[in-house]
């Protein structure tokens, strides 16, 4: 890795992280397009690398904040994690043999879908953690 590429990668991480903290969205939706367009990685490599980056528990701090307010169903969350482990394997098995062009198209459609969800969250009035009228969206 040349020093210039190293700096670009560090800056991508910093920018994606800032958006995560700012908007409460997952890093993957930002990381994957950034790696494809700025680092010229192909769609598969960008997705595989993004999955690797997301392995550490980045959301731990946020989880503790939610737990303080009692907004956590641990039982449901743990069951869900078991399902995700399995689903992740299935998803990987579907995506890996897929032609890159087809995967890129699907990812594009997925981004548009995510954008609609994010907009729906934004269009509701802002409220603080713990209130009943919560803004819609993902963690």
């Amino acid at each position: 890795m040349t020093p210039i590429v190293l700096i670009i990668v560090l800056v991508i991480g910093l920018c994606a992280g800032t958006l995560v903290g700012l908007l409460g969205i997952g890093g993957g939706v930002v990381l994957v397009p950034a790696m494809v367009h700025l680092l010229h990685m192909d769609q598969h490599a960008a997705q595989g690398t993004s999955l690797f980056v997301l392995l550490p528990p980045i959301g731990l701090g946020a989880f503790l904040e939610y737990r303080k307010k009692g907004n956590v169903d641990l039982h449901a969350g743990i069951l869900c994690a078991v399902g995700m482990l399995l689903g992740g394997y299935i998803g990987g098995k579907i995506a890996v043999p897929m032609p890159t062009v087809r995967l890129t198209q699907l990812f594009g459609v997925f981004l548009m879908f995510s954008a609609v969800l994010l907009w729906a969250k934004a269009s509701k009035p802002a409220s603080t953690l713990g209130q009943a009228s919560a803004p819609k969206g993902e963690s």
Partner: protein, 123 residues
């Protein structure tokens, strides 16, 4: 029992999204919790975070790695930036109006998605 199966199925759906698109999975899990399991929004987000703490993407990473699709060095360099950026972003978020930011970002994300789809037509 019915609920248990529901949670497991939600996890499988989130995991498929995560493995297929290289993302965390929260963007899939939260709407499922809200729409199909009748969780309120905060509980949906908090519970989704529980599911995202263990390295649930491990099997997906292995599937990509076997095909040579994981750039380990690039990934390792991205992690500290993401962590520090997350703290910075959370601090900035306290000072600005987040709703407008979300809307701007949603439009950018939509255009990015459209650009990716349209871009593949040239191939």
């Amino acid at each position: 029992m019915k609920k248990t199966i529901g949670f497991l199925l939600a996890g499988i759906a989130g995991g498929i999204g995560s493995g297929m698109f290289g993302i965390g999975g929260g963007i899939v899990l939260v709407p499922i919790f809200g729409l199909f399991l009748a969780f309120d929004q905060h509980k949906a987000q908090g519970t989704s975070l529980v599911a995202l703490i263990p390295p649930t993407g491990l099997l997906a990473v292995l599937a990509y790695a076997k095909a040579g699709y994981v750039y380990w060095l690039t990934g390792a360099v991205l992690i500290p930036g993401l962590f520090l950026g997350g703290i910075a972003g959370a601090k900035i978020a306290k000072r600005i109006e987040p709703r407008r930011m979300r809307q701007v970002f949603a439009v950018l994300l939509f255009l990015l998605g459209a650009w990716q789809v349209i871009g593949t037509w040239r191939h």
